[in-house]
């Protein structure tokens, strides 16, 4: 019945099977008396990394020539999902690479965290290719459920428990809002499939007080709010700094890298394709402005690294929403470029934060004189921070430039103006890192342990991309353009 559908879903099926096998392997061996109850976390992480890499190969080998709708039109595979999924898997792989050393240092012996990371990756893969409101919700939920668990991974730490609880409550609330929006849409249109929704919404003037469309309007509004909660856009961002700071650093890294890709891909699919009507545009317009402003201003007052990175990610969501609220092909393309570059930079920063974890690197001031104790790492962090801030030849500059360019191209001058101003303001705190590393003499010198080989490779690769992106960006632009086209056409 579904022979070809199962073939097309081969990467997901493989990843789920690999996860299950890893779970059984881990639990059987880690409770075996014969092997003296080994802590399997490092072993399972390597195997998990391997299975993610095999999934990437499987996915990349089955490049879609055209669009395929699977399982009664519930899932879709096209160029957009293809590249998004590959990118998501790459970012998961780099998160696992980052954590190889982490568990030993923290003496956390739960191999289940890797299993949960793999499971949430599976559901994020499905989330990217979701083509129906129900499938979308069903894919979002396991991902969030895995995240709630790994946020509270350190049971003996008060902060981690608090972060897990906060994340759970806010996540459940936002899922409820999203689900209410879905049921409003279903109740007023009678369909849940994106294709049919798109057919209904073409040329349908949705207004709040329209005779037939106020229910649809409320549905779109609630779905948008649910998504904005999940992506930590500004009026709905309050959980993010606490959760990012409280949960273990590895988990914070995973939170700020992988779900950004999948949720944005899903949002683009829902809003650009499903509800093609500019009613939601103003909402994202407002959220974009608010996120940029709050991200820039609130991060200035932060002393803790992870909190600062949380606000910086809020600000970056604001920049990404510039591309979203345009709704043009250039806008979508610049959004995708922005996501990719943001994820690259974030992988780099979190690899550094995880590398500097002697004495629980927590405050920015702990970076003092890093330029003398570890000059290469200091240069890496400075370049990444310059790139976050958008200093010209680096990748972050290119992403912001294209976002602002798209905003100007579609006539959203206010967005571009505020974007430029807040990006200038945010230079202040990004460059503060550089100032602390190079010019401050700390009272107590903190010497950090050398990092492991995997993390340094990851750092080198991402730094290379960030620095030399501008020399040859055309493959990247071609890919994102193809993705945007396959979405819009």
């Amino acid at each position: 019945m579904f022979e070809h559908d199962f073939l097309a879903l081969f990467p997901e099926i493989f990843l789920i099977n690999a996860t299950i096998i890893l779970l059984i392997y881990g639990v059987v061996l880690s409770t075996s008396k014969k092997y003296d109850y080994p802590p399997l976390v490092r072993n399972v992480s390597w195997l998990g990394l391997l299975s993610v890499l095999i999934t990437i190969i499987l996915l990349a080998a089955g490049a879609p020539l055209t669009v395929a709708n699977l399982f009664y039109n519930n899932l879709i595979i096209d160029n957009f999902t293809y590249f998004c999924q590959i990118f998501l898997l790459l970012s998961t792989a780099s998160t696992i690479v980052m954590c190889l050393d982490y568990f030993k240092e923290e003496s956390l012996n739960s191999f289940e965290s890797i299993v949960l990371i793999l499971l949430s990756t599976c559901s994020m893969l499905l989330m990217i290719s979701a083509y129906d409101l129900i499938v979308m919700y069903l894919a979002i939920e396991p991902q969030s459920l895995c995240f709630y668990v790994i946020a509270a991974l350190k049971r003996d730490s008060e902060f981690s428990t608090e972060a897990g609880l906060k994340y759970f409550i806010l996540g459940a609330f936002s899922s409820g809002i999203l689900l209410f929006g879905c049921s409003m849409i279903y109740g007023f249109t009678g369909v849940t499939n994106f294709e049919e929704l798109a057919k209904i919404f073409t040329g349908y003037k949705i207004t709040l007080f329209g005779a037939q469309s106020s229910g649809i309007f409320m549905g779109i509004l609630f779905i948008a709010v649910g998504f904005l909660f999940k992506i930590t856009a500004v009026p709905f961002h309050m959980w993010a700094p606490d959760v990012y700071e409280g949960s273990p650093t590895l988990v914070t890294a995973f939170f700020s890298i992988a779900p950004k890709i999948s949720i944005l891909a899903n949002m683009v699919r829902v809003f650009i394709y499903g509800f093609y009507d500019p009613t939601w545009q103003q909402l994202f317009f407002f959220c974009s402005i608010a996120s940029m402003i709050l991200g820039a201003l609130a991060a200035m007052a932060q002393n803790k690294v992870k909190r600062l990175l949380a606000y910086s990610s809020i600000g970056h969501v604001g920049y990404l929403f510039i591309g979203f609220s345009c709704g043009t092909i250039e806008g979508i393309q610049s959004l995708l470029i922005g996501v990719f570059i943001y994820v690259l930079m974030t992988i780099n920063v979190f690899a550094i934060v995880l590398a500097l974890r002697q004495n629980h690197f927590k405050y920015i001031a702990d970076l003092g004189a890093l330029a003398r104790t570890n000059p290469i790492l200091a240069i890496t962090l400075s370049i990444t921070m310059f790139s976050y801030a958008g200093i010209p030849p680096l990748a972050g500059f290119c992403s912001k430039f294209y976002l602002f360019f798209a905003a100007l191209g579609c006539g959203a001058y206010l967005l571009a103006l505020i974007g430029v101003v807040t990006s200038v303001i945010s230079c202040f705190y990004y460059i503060r890192f550089v100032k602390i590393m190079y010019f401050d003499i700390p009272k107590t010198w903190i010497l950090y342990k050398p990092m492991d080989r995997e993390k340094s490779l990851l750092l080198a690769i991402t730094l290379f991309f960030i620095t030399f992106f501008f020399l040859y960006p055309s493959p990247f632009f071609l890919v994102t353009h193809q993705m945007a086209l396959s979405l819009c056409l």
């Binding site: 299950i20 779970l23 059984i24 639990v27 059987v28 409770t31």
Partner: protein
């Protein structure tokens, strides 16, 4: 419509139990006021040794969570069992996949020791 007798049944059984409780109030002699010992907690004849508060065992939570999971499994099994002759081999195997995934969860908790009480 077949729920109406059940509703009536519920009300009648509620009334009956109330009657059974109140009858003993009507006929019993109220002697507990004369002996204050009769109102104290029963601890095999001794006075209570320590505070009634004790640490709650996590295993009760574990058992109830496992119950919820397998209870949900049964709710999925009901419609499958009823419509098994219509859904064919494909429906059969899809449920087997579901059960396999649940079984793997079960093996995990078994190996982890969530089912041992002592």
């Amino acid at each position: 419509m077949e729920f109406a007798p059940i509703c009536v049944y519920l009300i009648i059984s509620l009334l009956l139990s109330l009657i059974l409780i109140s009858v003993s109030f009507l006929f019993a002699s109220s002697s507990s006021l004369a002996y204050p010992e009769k109102l104290s907690a029963y601890e095999c004849g001794f006075d209570p040794l320590d505070d009634a508060r004790s640490r709650f065992d996590i295993r009760f939570y574990l058992v109830s969570i496992l119950f919820i999971i397998f209870d949900l499994e049964v709710t999925f099994l009901f419609p499958w069992a009823v419509s098994l002759n219509k859904i064919g081999l494909f429906g059969f195997w899809s449920m087997i996949v579901f059960l396999l995934i649940l079984t793997i969860g079960f093996i995990y908790e078994w190996k982890k020791g969530a089912l041992d009480w002592e």
